[in-house]
């Protein structure tokens, strides 16, 4: 996951010997040094970038992904920070044990003190002593629709975040940089809301049954046909919950004797589904095609462990956009590998459907590939469609099989009718079938916002992870105290951000994660950027040593590339 030490600022895939030979598929070209990018950008005339083919034509557009290495001083100081917090944690635990300090966390009753302990004190060390101190940055209750701006209920704590009290104030108009509202469909006005309200009056809110019994509405059938058309696949099936889509359908597809090759940073739903299935799981390094190819080769050559029989199935699990890193999967290479080694591909487009691609059809559209190459296309309606639920798309036989064999289809309640209508309306809007060009504008606005925001942040000198085109923007904080400080300072300035630390990220790589939206106007983004700039100076977050030459008076266009001075 980490780039090679040596100061290279962009990902450079390690070219191990033996992975590439004559006549075989070569791994896709990556813009590994920005100097080369600048030269190539200068060489290719403006406007022709989209059609530059590189390296056998696998990538129709340049793939710019960068994960700048942690500066050594910052890493050492982060450990010092955690060390100090740990020491104080031990001290506070000691005080709590000897009743010098009030003990807020759960303990057994007096009568049960001699039993086997119910609460594992040591395992909750981190929660008790680190997480609790900055807990006010999470679980903030919002009381309006999570659009570009949101209202947050103000709360106070008088015992250092062990309990909260609501002051009764509502902080209005907080700029929302945390909701997965990529296309701006989280609204309570407009055609989607009117359609959903109409259907609510017609069908009610509950379905009261599963799809197999009597909960299969005509709306569900309509939605599934629409989803299939949207994705470009033969058939699709929808489920009530995105997490349950993954965790309940992977066990239906693979079982014992099958092999799952899963990316290092896959979401918990994919991991849970893989573990529930009982298949053997092997993990390849994040977005690293050499690692994946090596695993595929070893799997086919050596077969199952001990018996050496061939695997029944090999399933590659990847995501479209990884929401913690902001990276996009190298789909052309994955598909090339899958075809070469005859494996199956399961693509989880939770964050990328609607958010990537010129027509918003996801990462397959973004790379200009054929949807039939992906065997199982999974996605959720939660992010870009402003609804809830998930879908799986693929060949008709696959979907028919899943209708009877998936736990989610057989036991879980089907989607609620107003939610279905919201999805139908928003999907038609994105496809342009509602007669307006609103969908196309939203998709374009999101792409512009993404480029602009990422570029401005990099110019300011923050370390930003991920791909140039990904609307998920992680800004590195590193030190534990800065996690709390950043969240609170931004809220003081009326901007709501999501900050993430250990264990959701590696121990030193805590970050703030911005999710851009088509609902954000340029003014909103400029306000947010100004505040982030201020907070960055206040907290000294501008770690990047690869400063960008700032944009001059060039109007925004998609052909601008980074020029770095090294």
């Amino acid at each position: 996951m980490r780039p090679e030490p040596g100061g290279c600022c962009c990902r450079r895939p390690a070219r191990a010997n033996g992975c590439v030979a004559n006549g075989e598929v070569r791994n896709g070209y990556v813009r590994s040094s920005s100097a080369a990018a600048a030269a190539a950008a200068a060489a290719a005339a403006a406007g022709q970038i989209h059609h530059v083919t590189e390296n056998g034509g696998l990538y129709k557009r340049p793939f710019n992904e960068a994960f700048e290495e942690t500066p050594m001083l910052v890493a050492v100081l982060t450990y010092v920070g955690y060390g100090v917090l740990t020491l104080f944690g031990y001290l506070r635990d000691f005080l709590r044990h000897w009743r010098i300090e009030k003990c807020h966390h759960a303990t057994e009753r007096e009568e049960q003190k001699d039993f086997v302990s119910l609460y594992q004190d040591f395992e909750n060390f981190y929660t008790r002593n680190l997480y609790m101190r900055i807990r006010d940055n999470w679980n903030r209750p919002i009381c309006s629709v999570p659009g570009a701006k949101v209202d947050i209920m103000e709360r106070q704590s008088h015992d250092y975040n062990w309990s909260f009290k609501y002051t009764g104030n509502i902080i209005k108009g907080v700029i929302n940089m945390g909701s997965y509202n990529y296309l701006g469909f989280a609204r309570n006005t407009g055609s989607c809301q009117e359609a959903a309200a109409r259907i609510l009056e017609e069908y009610g809110a509950g379905v009261c049954s599963t799809r197999q019994e009597i909960g299969n509405l005509d709306k569900h059938e309509e939605l599934e046909k629409l989803v299939a058309r949207f994705l470009g696949v033969e058939a699709a099936m929808t489920y009530g919950m995105g997490f349950a889509t993954n965790s309940m359908n992977i066990p239906a597809l693979v079982g014992k004797g099958c092999l799952i090759l899963s990316d290092e940073l896959n979401h918990a739903s994919l991991v849970l589904g893989a573990r529930l299935s009982g298949a053997t799981i092997r993990i390849f390094k994040h977005n690293n095609m050499q690692s994946l190819e090596k695993l595929l080769k070893d799997a086919i050559v050596y077969g199952q462990p001990r018996t050496r029989r061939p695997w029944k199935k090999i399933l590659i699990l990847v995501e479209g956009i990884y929401s913690m890193e902001g990276s996009i999967v190298r789909l052309p290479e994955v598909i090339a590998l899958k075809k070469k080694y005859k494996a199956y591909l399961y693509l989880d487009e939770a964050h990328s459907i609607g958010a990537l691609g010129p027509t918003g059809r996801g990462v397959v559209d973004y790379f200009g590939l054929n949807p039939e190459d992906v065997d199982v296309m999974m996605g959720t309606f939660t992010k870009s469609f402003g609804a809830s639920g998930g879908y799986i798309g693929g060949k008709k036989e696959l979907i028919d099989y899943l209708r009877t064999h998936s736990h989610s289809a057989v036991y879980a309640t089907s989607l609620s009718p107003p939610v279905v209508e919201q999805i139908i309306t928003s999907m038609k809007c994105i496809m342009g079938q509602d007669g307006t060009s609103l969908g196309k504008e939203c998709v374009q606005q999101l792409a512009e916002n993404t480029r602009y925001f990422r570029r401005r942040l990099k110019e300011m000198g923050f370390i930003i992870y991920g791909n140039e085109d990904s609307p998920v923007v992680p800004l590195m904080l590193y030190m534990p105290a800065k996690i709390g400080a950043f969240g609170r300072e931004m809220l003081k300035r009326n901007i709501g951000v999501v900050v993430v630390g250990f264990p959701a990220t590696p121990i030193i790589e805590s970050r703030a994660r911005f999710c851009l939206s088509a609902a954000h106007t340029k003014e909103i983004l400029d306000t947010a950027l100004k505040e982030i700039d201020e907070v960055g100076d206040l907290l000294q977050l501008k770690y990047s040593r690869h400063r960008l030459v700032p944009l001059l008076d060039r109007p925004f266009d998609e052909t601008t590339y980074e020029e770095t001075e090294d």
Binding site: R2, P5, E69, T70, M72, A75, V76, T78, Y79, V80, G83, F122, S262, E264, L265, N266, A268, V271, L272, A274, R275, G278, T280, I281, R282, I283, K285, L295, M324, F502, P503, A504, T505, P506, I507, I508
Partner: protein, 161 residues
């Protein structure tokens, strides 16, 4: 300072994760990486070895600034405190930073550090007899539990539960 032999431990990480998955290990709610023991990653993180050495250096400077202790005593103290700390955190407190896979790069680092410290201490104490006995006993107490044969072994039933 970045550890070059990171790749062998990664290959082992793959194997151990396969083993873990085949055993059907518990769910990790709220974690990014699908591994059972996040502590394995911490020892391979960027800058941790440098921080470790700096921490020992800081302790050394703190001890040196106590006015009435001589240099040999300081070095012996550093050796003893470091080994005691290592013993407590790695061999008393339960939970595995290695998850059963031997000979990782961080394991080698953690074995070599007390040995290097021992050499330096022996030099600065001018091989005095009492210091030698103390330092050697302390070194043994930290090296022997690291042997692969002693993984999971509990002598006299101490710390069994």
């Amino acid at each position: 300072m970045a550890p070059a032999p990171r790749h062998p431990s990664r290959a082992l990480d793959l194997q151990l994760r396969t083993a873990a998955a085949e055993r059907g290990d518990r769910m990790n709610v709220g974690t990014a990486h699908s591994e059972v023991n996040p502590n394995t990653r911490v020892m391979n993180s960027r800058g941790i070895w440098l921080s470790y050495v700096l921490a020992i250096g800081l302790l050394h400077v703190v001890l040196l600034s106590i006015p009435f202790v001589s240099v040999p005593v300081v070095w012996t103290l550093i050796n003893l405190i470091h080994n005691m700390g290592m013993y407590i955190f790695l061999h008393t407190v339960k939970g595995t930073p290695y998850y059963g896979v031997q000979f990782t790069a961080s394991q080698k680092f953690l074995t070599i550090t007390p040995i290097v410290l021992y050499f330096l201490t022996s030099f600065y104490t001018k091989y005095d007899q009492i210091h030698f006995i103390l330092n050697t006993v302390s070194l043994m107490s930290v090296l022997i539990p690291k042997l692969p044969q002693l993984h999971g072994v509990r002598i006299f039933g101490i710390n069994k539960y």
